[in-house]
Amino acid sequence: MEYVFHIIIMLNIYIMLTLSANLTIGMANLLTMCQAAFYGIGAYIGTFFLMQFNLPFLLVAALVMLFTGAFSFLVSFASVRLKDDYFVIATMGFQLIVYTILYNWTDVTRGPYGIPGIPGIRLFGMFELTGVYAYLVLSLVLMAVVVFLFHHLVESPFGRVLNAIRADEITVKSMGRNIVKFKSLAFFLSAAVAGLAGIIYASYVSYIDPTSFTLDESIFILSALFIGGIGNTKGPVLGAVFVVLLPELLRFVGLPDSVAANLRQIIYGLALILVMYYRPQGLLGKTIMK
């Protein structure tokens, strides 16, 4: 049963990640390749707070979201000046710089050795959450909150402005909306939720190292998002379900481990190509990337 719970927890983390990526990619048409960087920043900052201070979880989560969100301004700053492919390469750059810093700044991050023994989350500062059940409940609740939030965000005034920016940026500008403000806010929220996923991951696995937050991870999140679909809530959720459950299904087929890892990547890649050809909005998505 713990095995099933573990999968559900990872699924919840990936649902948060794909939803956070959807906010900028699917709704504002800003193709970012640095979601894993925010995920990593969240995990490392969260680890810092968990290991140094004895704070209640809600406070740690709020701090992590705030700090991770602050890092997003670096990216949203770039999005104002750079368009299309230049923006993509700039976000890739951000991702690689964050990875390089996490890997090489050994005094703070312990670099490739990683940080072991991350303590569990303290709810209201009193009892420590440990064990798979606690994280199951916690991640389910947070996932539900995020899904609820993003579901309503799509039809909210904020979501509609983002949608309008996606459709025609210049018209929105001429209507007197501050595009920079809306884009920055979208990036902030997106990074904050990715950071939240990061701290849950760090605390649940209780060990982090930079190799969980690489460019490949960003591309993986992107693949999940685009297979599932962009522009609404059910698309990204389906994408996360697909990429998290597929390896488990392949496990039951009984392939050797070395082949299975590569085979599932091949399946993701093929799925991505086929989806882009037959259904560019994704399996359950609403909008198509321009």
Binding site: L82, Y86, G93, T100, G269, L272
Partner: protein
Amino acid sequence: MIWQFVINGLITGILYSLLAIGFALVFNTTKIFHIAAAGIYVFAAYMFWFFVASVGLPVIPASLVALVLTMLLSLLTEVLIYRPLKNKKASLNVAMIASIGAMTVIINTIAMFFGNETKVIDNSILQPLTFGDIIITSPQKYQALIGITVLIIFMVLLQRTNWGLRLRALSADETLFETLGYDTKKTRVLVFLVSGVFIALASCLTVYDVGLDPNMGMNVLISAVVAMIIGGVGRFSTCILGGLTLGVLQSLTVYHFASNWQNAVTFLVLIILLFLRPQGIAGYKQRTV
């Protein structure tokens, strides 16, 4: 000592230039952000390794076979992915995401057959050249000689032949190109074949020196793309300028700091450049980047 690093940087820069041109051939003409090039790069490396180490061919025939196979794979990405998407009028971002899928498929297929560990091609018996206190290893000698020759031939062909003119015309304005009665489809086939040549050359020359593993493609491709942007997008000669600049810059980073900060410095320079001079060192001026 510093000149050794400059020379190393220049030779690395030649390799970046080759890959940057391989990427720019596709990017300038089709405007697709050709991430699958990373997969094609890895494919070329493994074919080269396979024919040298497993089949036992000498280095030159093996690299030629790898070259031809890589050209075919490059053409396959066009025929199987980009062309159908173009016929469906899919946007460039959609093509790019499909390209990511193609890269994933290629790299993992290779990893499945050949394993994930690092491999090397034996080049140990060759004597290095020395000029004073500068040492040029034998693989570096080949990299420089072949690289420079190919770049010169390409530049001459690009400027002096009808073929080169078409290529430049297609990268300048596709609609006009078609309006004047040229066949975009045929020209694109050519573009992808030549792109395959450059990717294969960059790949074979690099792995002959430093070895290969299935995950090396993305990092090298990103460096090449950065080289292309530093030089200036929209032309081909600028790739060489950018490649050499980036090569020397990375090498000097190693000299002054350490090799593990290379990527961070590369991107800092790129981002600063994008803000201050978005068209690159010698690119065409554009209204928006």
